[in-house]
Symmetry: C2
Subunit: 348 residues, 2 copies
């Protein structure tokens, strides 16, 4: 075990403070990573504040991790010191159940180990995330970063990126299809970029004219203001797919009504009871309402490779570790375009 | 036009009474059918009582029609007098839109013509259903009844049958899969029979021990009492498909939680806002909540042919036309096993 610097919360009501943590000794299949950048996800805040159930303290958040390999275990085959790598929301899973065998470790039937706040099967205690200098991770959960990507900007791909990429691929979004992205935040802005890069006709669906303008700059072909009932009516039954990134409960009925027959709206944000799902709206056009959780390791690598090929990168605002509490305040107010990334040099 | 006997409602609050209606003259592609049997569907009641919006009166209900061809128009190719035929919920559609081209006339983008209560594009006025002696229908909406089927029992296949068959086929239910049927009424009892005939392991999911016993007699392999939270827990994440026939709003969350990853619960009854659809339950296992509306003409014929091959038939209770109001009272109280069928001889 080696003691390293981190930022974390000691309770649900405190701000994040500097603290010292330990990382496990390198296991045969482990990779030691010096963390260069870590994205700031709203989940970090929900977890640290025990908003998603009681957290294990201290919480060291951070699951959009980019770094360089500093050492590898004796049995590691695919990485070497100096490699640019990423770690997302997952650091372990059973590797044996049907979900793991399908490359969908996020749905591990024996419980995936999340990058922070999960019981740690190897070192005991609970996992501690990327708001820190260093992390040690089984190589099966380490991603390779294409050489031509700007490392600082790559961090948010590990959660915001894969969470939107995975459903777009799973529901087989194709060039020429009319795809709606509902909600413009960290996830929504990646949804626009991916759907556009896949060749779709991308419609930003938002309550806000201002966000609509921003979405166009990010690549949206069209904007649909969801408060405009005439506009919503004119788009009824016209969408091939809806990626709904709204992170809280909302009235989903007006969006479901936008889907063509047999098409799907997938929720990636709202993990709570939803207002107004009308059975009739599903029945009348054989529509589907689905959910999707982050993505598996294999598809995360595919996404990173795609981003390398197509130069798809998030919009980020760089911060120092010391500015994290102010950054969180701004995340809560949705005042960020579109993802904070911590420059981990500031922690040294 | 010829005047024929029927039963119908003159207003939302009256009982059904005998009345005289007219049927259009035979068009070149029309078939004239002497009605032998007509099933009684809960939709008949909802429509006649204007519970699904203001009805066009008089309402002559009935969309589970079995009869014999008495005459055919000059251009009719596939039927001849004497043929045993059926007419379900649909009697016309645009025949040109993508849905019609896919053989899914129930989703016609220009509006399908329902067997009763729809504007009639040919004769003007509105359509009048099967609680009558005779009907005239375009041959494209007429089904052929396999010779070995008992005609009286066949009637409910035209709505209760196809409404459950269509989603089981669309979601590709296979032999050996674990399929849940939620709710045991006219639709649920057909769901059990079809899923069983397809080789699935069928679980009846019901609030009632008594209905569970009945379901076993109908072919269910297993019963899950939905009020038993321990039993529900032990079946969590274990179903390949759920056919939800509950006809009213209900808490769908406990059922969604029964689905394996990537699997679907399809609603065929509840055409209203649903209680408690939890986004998290969909997201955590990439589950789907969908709806399905009756079925197209092509698949209705496939279902009838399947029923002929496998001798799958509904359980029916025969009534005379004069007993319709008492029968409706019993339908409303869910006191029927599992479908009333009117013997139309009683109307002569």
């Amino acid at each position: 075990m080696s003691e390293i610097k981190a930022y974390g919360a000691h309770s649900a009501t405190e701000e994040l403070v500097p603290l010292k943590i330990e990382r496990r000794e390198l296991q045969p299949k482990d990779i030691a990573i010096e963390i260069l950048y870590c994205g700031v996800c709203h989940s970090d805040i929900h977890t640290a504040r025990s908003e998603w159930g009681p957290a294990r303290y201290p919480v060291v958040p951070g699951h959009e991790i980019i770094g360089k390999v500093t050492a590898v275990g004796a049995e590691v085959k695919n990485f070497k010191p100096g490699d640019a790598v990423g770690v997302g929301c997952l650091v372990d899973s059973c590797q044996k159940c049907p979900a793991c065998e399908d490359g969908l470790e996020q749905y591990c039937e024996n419980g995936a180990t999340y990058t922070y706040g999960s019981p740690d099967k190897i070192s005991g205690g609970h996992t501690l995330g990327g708001y820190s200098e260093k992390i040690v991770v089984d190589e099966s959960f380490v991603l390779r970063i294409p050489e031509n990507l700007d490392l600082a900007k790559t961090a948010p791909l590990l959660c915001a990126g894969i969470t939107t990429w995975s459903p777009l691929k799973h529901w087989n979004v194709k060039a020429g299809e009319k795809i709606g992205v509902v909600g413009l935040g960290g996830l929504g802005h990646m949804g626009i970029k991916f759907a556009r890069a896949m060749g779709a006709h991308v419609v930003m669906i938002t309550t806000s004219e201002k966000k609509g303008e921003d979405a166009k700059k990010l690549g949206a072909d069209e904007v649909l203001i969801s408060k405009d009932s005439e506009a919503m009516k004119s788009h009824a039954s016209s969408f091939d797919f809806l990626l709904n990134t709204i992170p809280v409960n909302h009235d989903v009925e007006p969006y479901l009504n936008l889907l063509k027959r047999d098409k799907t709206m997938v929720l990636v944000g709202a993990i709570e009871p939803l207002s107004n799902v009308n059975g009739g709206t599903l029945i009348r056009k054989r529509r589907n309402l689905a959910g999707s959780l982050i993505g598996g390791i294999r598809e995360t690598q595919e996404m990173l490779d795609f981003c390398g090929e197509h130069q798809v990168l998030p919009e980020v605002e760089m911060i120092d570790m010391q500015g994290i509490n102010q950054a969180w305040d701004r995340v809560v107010k949705a005042d960020v375009k579109y993802r904070f990334v911590i420059d981990m040099k500031s922690l040294k």
